[in-house]
């Protein structure tokens, strides 16, 4: 018995190490195919963070949110404003206070982005506490558009967001003496900046996964699931549904904020265009396609829906050239077509998602005695 459990434990550790090595080696393999693939990986990780954040609101607490990308935008703009010369260029007071630019540490900016996004989450949550389903969806949709319109128009009378031109010259991430802008040498290995971002995003994604899993198997996760299943019964069981919903909005938004700030640093340029309704819908599709409320499913959904279009882009044109000698269908059109068809088929045949949650998702984790 004892040796049996030991080998199980060993198997677990071996599996864990294997996954760790695979994840660490992934960008190098992708890099062999071309740097654009490492970029795809990085964007995919950003989407995983977003999908996991939205999953807290939609999957765990059952609150349909169609404006989730607003929190991504808030995180992106917080980082963008703090890490670019835009603010000091436009406000003399700030320029006088910080003659060399703001130069904030990344360890400060990530939490600040997350917190401000969380505040916006509560701002959205508070007036919508009594709404459910379609009504909530409409209000959140409006909220997402309001944020985008603000970003688009807050360049006058005081230029805060630089309007439709967006913010550029955003500083890349700097950790210690390592600046994520060109290839650096770490432990004798030449590591391109793209790979550095990959590792940073991976670390943040893993952190978010752990947070989500632990929350799910806790009193909070059970309270959310109760609200999702039957709000009235949840109230009657002594759950303060108001606070729990606000908590879901705030936590979901903060993950979106983190993803947004990373997007901002990674791209070096942001504009309101990146935060349209379609983005909200894409993230929601990831959650629904993967399996609402089920963390591995949501990750799968995010990876599929962010990676698949890139794969298509790469394959469609050469394939048609080889088959017909000319390009008949544009990759972009085919992408929308397959995207839509996939969603319809999944909803018809696997309405709970590709990898739906099983029972016992909120049970207390057995504590080793």
């Amino acid at each position: 018995m004892m040796s049996n459990t030991l080998t199980d434990r060993q198997k677990q550790i071996a599996g864990f190490l294997l996954v760790a090595v695979a994840l660490a080696a992934l960008p190098w393999f992708a890099g062999m195919l071309g740097n654009s693939w490492v970029r795809v990986l990085n964007i995919a990780l950003l989407y995983v963070m977003l999908a996991l954040g939205l999953n807290i609101v939609v999957g765990f607490a059952g609150l349909l949110d169609l404006g989730y990308i607003a929190f991504y935008a808030v995180g992106a703009y917080v980082y963008g404003l703090l890490a670019s010369p835009h603010l000091t260029d436009n406000f003399e007071v700030l320029a006088a206070m910080f003659p060399d630019g703001l130069n904030l540490s990344i360890w400060l900016m990530i939490p600040v982005g997350a917190c401000i996004a969380a505040v916006f989450g509560v701002l959205l949550g508070a007036p919508t506490l009594r709404l459910r389903g379609d009504y909530l969806a409409i209000v959140t949709l409006g909220f997402g558009e309001i944020i985008r319109l603000f970003l688009n128009n807050l360049n006058a009378p005081v230029n805060i967001t630089n309007g439709p031109q967006g913010i550029n010259m955003i500083e890349p991430v700097t950790i210690g003496s390592v600046r994520f802008s060109r290839t650096v040498e770490l432990l004798g290995i030449e590591v391109p900046a793209l790979h550095l971002y990959y590792y940073l995003f991976l670390a943040l994604t893993l952190l978010i996964i752990v947070i989500c899993m632990r929350l799910q198997h806790s009193r909070i996760g059970r309270a959310w699931a109760a609200i999702r299943d039957d709000e009235l019964a949840a109230k009657a069981m002594g759950i303060n549904t108001r606070n729990m919903k606000l908590l879901a909005f705030a936590l979901g938004a903060s993950f979106g904020g983190v993803a947004g700030s990373m997007f901002s640093a990674f791209q070096g340029f942001i504009s309101p265009e990146s935060f349209g309704l379609m983005e909200s819908i894409v993230v929601l599709c990831m959650v629904v396609l993967g399996g609402m409320g089920h963390i591995p499913g949501v990750i799968l959904g995010a990876l599929l829906l962010s990676g698949f279009p890139e794969l298509l882009r790469e394959v469609v044109v050469p394939l048609q050239n080889a088959l017909f000698g000319e390009v008949l269908v544009d990759a972009e059109i085919l992408r929308s077509l397959i995207y839509g068809l996939t969603m319809i088929l999944v909803m018809l045949y696997k309405p709970k998602g590709l990898w739906p949650q099983r029972k016992g998702n909120n049970a207390p984790l057995r504590v080793a005695a």
Binding site: V210, I211, R214, L215, H217, S218, R219, I220, G221, R222, A223, A225, A226, R228, D229, D230, L232, A233, A234, K235, A236, M237, G238, I239, N240, T241, L247, L251, Q357, K359, G360, N361, N362, A363, P364, L365, R366, V367
Partner: protein
């Protein structure tokens, strides 16, 4: 109406043109089982909803353990110590039986986001305690073997038992049961009766809405009979059974026309 565990005085609730509950008084002493009976639409469930904070009363005073309270929200009432079940079962269907009972312990446990994320020793102990107690409660109501089944997969009678276990998890002083025997067969009713007597023995007072007269008369200390939102009789089961007003309400009289 001396102090007692719980009392409600002068409860009134009107829905548009319908006076659903009019001037109803209820009181419970510790360890008592109080029956609330009456024909369909008499206002029994409305009374429950007023007491547990689901509806706001038009008038009425409530006191619990000697203190007056205004039932503003259901979660406050549950936290205070009045737990309830529902006439049309309202379990958390995506969760297992065990998880359902765990949810019931929400208002008696404390861990927050930080505790859960860091898995602090306090949080771990609390989770272990929650699981242990939830399992014990499932055994208490007699469905321990189904702890890992989804709530929706349980039989009707077992779902009703699960609702009782979930309500008990919030450590109530008063357990309000809305037709717990509805849809149960004779054997299940007998087992339910034993369970209710056991709960009373564990010093939890029960407020019981039930149509099964045999069950009500068998276990209640006091019975209140409602008709058209008004109390038409209040007394021991024997007194109530003799009351002409009750007989008329149940068997029909001329003035109901």
């Amino acid at each position: 109406m001396s102090g007692g565990l719980f009392s409600a005085k002068g409860l009134c609730k009107r829905f548009g043109g319908v006076q659903a509950v009019e001037n109803v008084d209820l009181s419970i002493q510790e360890g008592q089982v109080i029956g609330l009976i009456g024909p369909n639409g008499a206002g029994k469930t409305t009374c429950f909803n007023l007491i547990t904070g689901l509806y706001t009363p038009d008038a009425g005073q409530f006191s619990f353990q000697g203190k007056t309270y205004q039932p503003k929200s259901p979660n406050d009432v549950a936290r205070m110590g009045i737990a309830r079940t529902f006439q049309n079962i309202r379990l958390f269907n995506s969760m297992t039986a065990l998880e359902n009972v765990c949810v019931g312990m929400h208002c008696r446990t404390r861990q927050g986001v930080l505790g859960a994320v860091l898995r602090t020793p306090g949080q771990r102990n609390e989770e272990a305690r929650i699981e242990e107690k939830a399992l014990a409660l499932l055994h208490y109501v007699g469905i321990g073997q189904y702890s890992n089944h989804l709530a929706a997969q349980l039989s009707y009678g077992d779902q009703r038992r699960l609702e009782i276990a979930r309500a008990l998890a919030s450590e109530p002083k008063v357990l309000a049961l809305d037709e717990p025997a509805a849809g149960m067969n004779a054997t299940e009713k007998l087992k339910l009766r034993e369970l209710l007597l056991q709960i009373r023995q564990d010093n939890i007072a029960i407020l019981l809405i039930e149509h099964d007269v045999k069950l009500v008369m068998g276990i209640c200390d006091q019975v209140t009979v409602l008709d058209y939102g008004k109390v038409i009789e209040q007394g021991t089961p024997a007194q109530v059974q003799q009351s002409p007003a009750v007989i008329e309400a149940y068997l029909g009289g001329l003035h109901h026309g």
